[in-house]
């Protein structure tokens, strides 16, 4: 087990901190929607000579405003759907973690600590224990902050290869090594006889399909399932190797950090999200859970970024196409239509070029649905770090609480309600929000309250078989 701890630091570094930058929700689809709204609105106002079907400018203004209002109504209406779309994966992740904790005793056995938490909690006095846990939490948080800043700096200076390599190494570790250990422990618990060859086959297939799904293309459900599984694995590692008080302290401090990092103007996560939005790229697919596919099929705009071209398929990986598009910038602005398409069009209707002027004229036509995406397809994104910390909270509650299932359930309900509230705020504010603070606060309050107050009460009531 000590070798395990020694290997972990290198990769733990990578894994830990990559997940943390994305402790936020974002409906960047909505953001880019609104920007397209604004862009097309501005373009209409700047084209006085374009034939706008004889309608005056203020009509167009009204249409723009009406579209924005409709947009907001739609957001609120489909907000409930998004809440359910996020409830299911969060619940699944928590269920997997709790089931594992309850059945496989490996994850509740104390087998040492990570090197990020060097101070032990087996001390003589309570004061010493408190001090040690505070120091542990401080070290862990500073590691996280340093790694987050490093990631943001790498992203800002476009060192995509480094980030990509880092992500690949850590997902390799998770998908192969941690799942091998997990499988081994499950087999040990249920006393299943297994040979190495079968295990190698299973782990190889699981890992390779996982790498492909997460980093490249794959069916959406499979990608979501893999993301849930790696979040659960990561949460289990945390539950095993973090001592008690340290774990609670880390949860509390990281939700404060999340709040600061996402909302402060100079916060690293906010800078990350804003840079990604400026460059019109999506954040790393290996770190974010998204509830729908994004179809960016919209009208040809004058952006030379061939993001539109690259994202006509239904996946989410932007790193490889992003590198490609930089080469294709030099090509003529063909409005997003590929060469073959243009040839076909020429064959059918004759050589009519799509010029910037014609495109502007078409866009100037007032139309009710500027939203080229089906509103139902707009999804919500949740960072994997959020999954991990929610599951750590519920897992720790089920592992160490005296109230057992009552405490676990109370924390579960509290976290879901926190998530609900966060999504409500997201619908109101429409920008990236931290998903950890509200849920973790509710979860912690409910954990300590249920464990210390409710549990003795319910215990006494159940003892006498009284019902309330």
């Amino acid at each position: 087990m000590t070798e395990l701890s020694a290997h972990l630091p290198q990769f733990q570094h990578g894994q830990l901190t990559e997940n943390f930058p994305d402790n936020h929700l974002s409906n960047t689809n909505d953001n880019s929607e609104r920007r397209r709204h604004d862009n097309s609105g501005r373009r209409r106002n700047d084209n006085p000579e374009s034939e706008t079907n004889g309608q005056p400018q203020n009509n167009i203004q009204q249409v723009v405003e009406q579209d924005e209002e409709e947009d907001e109504e739609l957001t609120l209406k489909y907000g409930a759907k998004h809440v359910i779309m996020l409830f299911v994966p969060v619940t699944l992740c928590m269920v997997v973690v709790v089931a594992t904790i309850k059945s496989v005793s490996f994850y509740t056995r104390k087998d040492g600590q990570l090197i990020y938490t060097p101070f032990t909690e087996e001390t003589e006095t309570v004061g010493q224990r408190a001090l040690n846990s505070i120091l542990n939490a401080a070290i862990m948080i500073s590691v996280i902050i340093v790694m987050t800043i490093l990631l943001v700096v790498l992203y800002k200076y476009r060192c995509y290869k480094v980030i990509h390599g880092w992500l690949i190494i850590s997902s390799l570790l998770l998908l192969f090594f941690f799942s091998f250990i997990y499988l081994g422990e499950v087999f040990k618990t249920y006393n299943v006889a297994m040979d190495y060859i079968t295990v190698a086959l299973i782990i190889w297939n699981f890992g390779v399909v996982g790498m492909i799904c997460i980093h490249w293309k794959g069916p959406l459900r499979l990608q979501q399932a893999y993301l849930i599984m790696i979040s659960a694995l990561m949460a289990l590692v945390f539950i095993k190797y973090l001592p008690e008080w340290t774990a609670w302290l880390i949860l509390a401090v990281i939700s404060v950090y999340d709040l600061v990092a996402v909302l402060c103007p100079k916060g690293p996560l906010r800078m990350l999200v804003e840079t990604a939005q400026e460059r019109n790229e999506t954040l790393f697919p290996a770190l974010i859970y998204s509830s729908t596919m994004i179809w960016l099929v919209n009208m040809a705009e004058e952006d030379p970024e061939a993001q539109r071209k690259a994202t006509k398929n239904s996946t989410y990986d932007k790193q490889a196409p992003a590198n490609q598009t930089r080469n294709e910038d030099a090509e003529a602005d063909n409005g997003g239509f590929s060469q073959e398409w243009q040839q076909q069009r020429d064959n059918r209707i004759g050589p009519i070029e799509s010029t910037p002027e014609s495109r502007a004229a078409v866009q100037a036509l007032p139309s009710n649905s500027q939203t080229s995406e089906d509103p139902e397809e707009r999804g919500v994104k949740l960072g994997l770090g959020d999954f991990i910390f929610y599951s750590v909270l519920v897992g720790k509650a089920s592992a160490t609480a005296s109230g057992d299932w009552n405490t676990t359930l109370a924390c579960f309900v509290a976290i879901l309600i926190g998530l609900c509230l966060t999504l409500l705020l997201l619908a109101i504010f429409k920008k990236a929000l931290p998903a950890l603070p509200i849920s973790i606060t509710f979860g912690l309050v409910f954990y300590f309250a249920t464990d210390n107050l409710v549990q003795p009460f319910m215990d006494q009531l159940a003892f006498h078989q009284f019902y309330i």
Binding site: L76, G403, V413, A462, I468
Partner: protein
């Protein structure tokens, strides 16, 4: 469920504080404090049910304003049912899940002289309680909506009565029987409150299709919305 949990938290806080301040050795006092705690819990649950009603009313108005035809997509009756059901589910789960978890493990029921029917009576009591919470939810919301405070008082009183009857355990004939009678009566009351009647029950059971092809009501004649 969250609202019920918060009420439970506050009630157990009250009980905890009262136990801390009292003499631990006196068994009768502790029993009395437990009864007191249970009564406080019941009252707090109903209070939070009322608070939830207020919240849902506000949300209902909000939904109605942003919907297309000015009516909210969920009726207040549906909300009442869901609210009652969720109160019931979380209350039932909290009462029974630890018992269920213990029932898997090795052990003998009632080996120390307690009743050997503990598990099965717990199961039936929990079922009754879940159903009762659902019915109380429906009746409560309707009473609040129509401002019939007598009905409201009756709901609270029946909750207190049910909880009080469980204090008679393990004399199960005295507690289980009346509780089931109360459940049946409350169920009928809730059914009537929600607008059901003997005729509608027959219609539902005979699986007759609604014959609405011949007569078209005026409100159904709507201009198709422009798209």
């Amino acid at each position: 469920a969250f609202f019920w949990l918060v009420s439970l938290l506050l009630a157990s806080l009250v009980w905890f504080v009262s136990v801390r301040l009292s003499d631990r050795g006196d068994a009768r006092l502790q029993h009395g404090l437990l009864v007191f705690g249970a009564a406080v819990s019941v009252l707090l649950q109903e209070l939070f049910r009322f608070a939830y009603f207020k919240l849902l009313k506000k949300a209902d108005e909000g939904l109605a304003t942003i919907s297309e035809d000015g009516r909210s997509p969920i009726s207040l009756r549906q909300m009442a049912y869901v609210s009652g059901l969720s109160f019931g589910i979380i209350s039932g789960i909290f009462s029974v899940i630890n018992i269920l978890a213990d029932s898997i493990g090795p052990g003998t029921v009632g080996i120390h002289g307690d009743s050997p029917y503990y598990f099965i009576t717990s199961a039936f009591l929990t079922m009754a309680l879940v159903l009762l919470h659902t019915f109380w939810g429906v009746i409560f919301f309707d009473a609040c909506e129509k401002r019939r405070y007598g009905c409201l008082g009756l709901v609270v009183a029946s909750h207190l009565l049910t909880s009080g009857l469980t204090f008679l355990n393990p004399r199960y004939e005295a507690s289980l029987g009346p509780i089931f009678i109360i459940t049946l009566c409350t169920g009928l009351w809730a059914f009537v409150t929600a607008g059901g009647s003997f005729r509608s029950l027959l219609k539902c059971l005979s699986c007759k299709q609604e014959d609405n092809s011949r007569v078209m009501t005026y409100s159904a004649l709507r201009v198709p919305c422009e798209d």
